[in-house]
Amino acid sequence: MLESIFILPLFTGLLALFLPVRLGRVVLVAVALLHLQLTVLSWLHTPAPHLPGYFGNGPAGFLVLLVTSFIFVCIAPYSVFYMREQEMQSEPIFLGCMLLFLGTMSMAALADHPIVLWIAIEATTLVSAPLIFINRSKKALEATWKYVLICSVGIALALLGFFFITLSQGQDGGEAKLTFTALNAAARQLDPLWLRTGFIFVLIGFGTKMGLAPMHTWLPDAHSEAPSPASALLSGALLNCAFLGIYKVHTLMVLAGLGDFSGSLLIGFGLLSILVAGIFILNQPDYKRMLAYSSIENMGVIAFGIGVGGLGLYGAMLHLIHHSLLKSSLFLSAGNLVLGFGSKLVAQCGGMVRLLPRTFCSFFGGFVGISGLPPFGVFVSELLILTGAFQTGHPVAAGLFIASLVLVVAGFARIVTAMSFGPSREELLVREETMRILPPWTLLLTSVLLCVWMPEPLYRTIVDTIALIGGTIHG
């Protein structure tokens, strides 16, 4: 039951590579719906895994899995209608890789064994590379090459980190079970030297994949060159999976009494990411790259929130959910813009408000949300993270955090204003269509809804996730 969550998309993904395009599209949407049902069912009933040494049903994994699955349900129908407007020779590869991508990400979310987690994250690189390269242009090739090479180095370093963590069980610790659950249970007996070394390598390794500065260099290229549905998935789901890897090791560090060490590293990388993103967003000529830098910024915010601990932990988990919803919505809106204007340059897309009024609504709504303004959830989560930072005694870091966020909002606002109200073009290449408007709107509305009404099980899952490392909602 639990394993079927990732076996289903992996199997159908392989199948979809060979199916005719029309059938493949149906399979994509059907599997997306089925995957969400399976996820929700196992989330509510938490069945025991068949392979308990390798997979687990921990709350952190389910949180990431739920977000991934929900976003995928919105992206799948969108990509069907997006693909209809594009001339693409290799659409079966696109459909198959989307499903395989979903499968590997679900596997990463459910993994309890460090090596299974590592394998799943490596597999996400392999199956998402064709998605980035799908347009076969010179720039797409460059983006894919950077993506594969940089992430491979990251993955290799993460493996080294896991070697060190295994070693912390002692030189003759061959009998001990190697799962996150077992490691957490025996955290106090682990060798701190190897744990520290291991955390640094895992942070740098998975941080590359998560897009933390200064290892983020692949991210803007990959996100801007991939077709928009794939960018939405990369940004809204993949980054979370890499974050989950870091989070699990951070949990282990906190339980072993080394939380200060790992926390300050996370704060450092988080602040650096926000700052770098702010600087690069300011004069960004390409709106998809702007969204990609915004993802780097938000990953920085999450790392920062986890690092400060306390109330910041709850804020960070909330931020993870809302960032995924808003950012994938923004990327889907950006897909409509790419189709409509035929360009990713801000200078080429004036007058969105007149030409694409409904896309304007979702794009502008997404901008308001991601900038941390109410009524969207990012407002709440960033406020909680800030409160947490002050409560746990990080006033300087909190000041830097606010300053960097202002930088990001300023850059973002300039671009969005120019695109929305700037001098408009004469005509559109592709008109907007209801089926390509509904998914981004659904994602936005979900963010608003979750802000005013949080379902009890979801609240419990978040609280369970952070309770392990001492985070509470009451600070």
Partner: protein
Amino acid sequence: MITGIDVILVAILLSVLLSLASSRMMALVKIMALQGAMVSIAPLLLDPQSRLGNEGILYFQLMLLIKAAIIPGLLYLAVTRVAIKREVEPIVGYHASLAVGLGLILLSATITRRLGIALSGDSSLLLITAITTLGGGLFLMMSRTKAITQVIGYLMLENGIYLVGTALTKHAHNLYLVEFGVLLDLLVGVMIMGIILHNINRAFDDVDTAYLGQLKD
């Protein structure tokens, strides 16, 4: 006393230095084949007793096949078929690279001495070799312009990680941990296939990552 493992390890160290100093693509590929063979033999000599299980022997053969035959074979194909110019085209000169390599050996010796308390005595040379190989690979990736040299650098980095794993976890063989490093070879394979299969060669006149420099801020 000089044992078999010492000879192998010194040979691996020399192969790292040689690869940093070599100016010909074909020579680099041959060095990598040799290094792959020695890296996959090393664990066998290190711990002759514990490796004699059926799975161990199978795995050892698989490693040798991949590291010493398949990957270098693919690299050879890439160099001959994709009409890569035969020179390595470094950013950092050969002599400077060699000096960096020697510096890396010193650095690894220092790191090993720091970590030495936690290690059993006989694996210190192994750890020095492993860290040098790892660092040498990273350096090669950064200091050469061609896409294929970056892949070779990555291969060396991966060899280093395999050695670190062997050095550190040799007492916990029942965990099957180091063995998963073989999946990194999959990534290497994919990268080389990317170079061979039309794409990079068709999109660029040369497999030179200096051409891969259009996307930036």
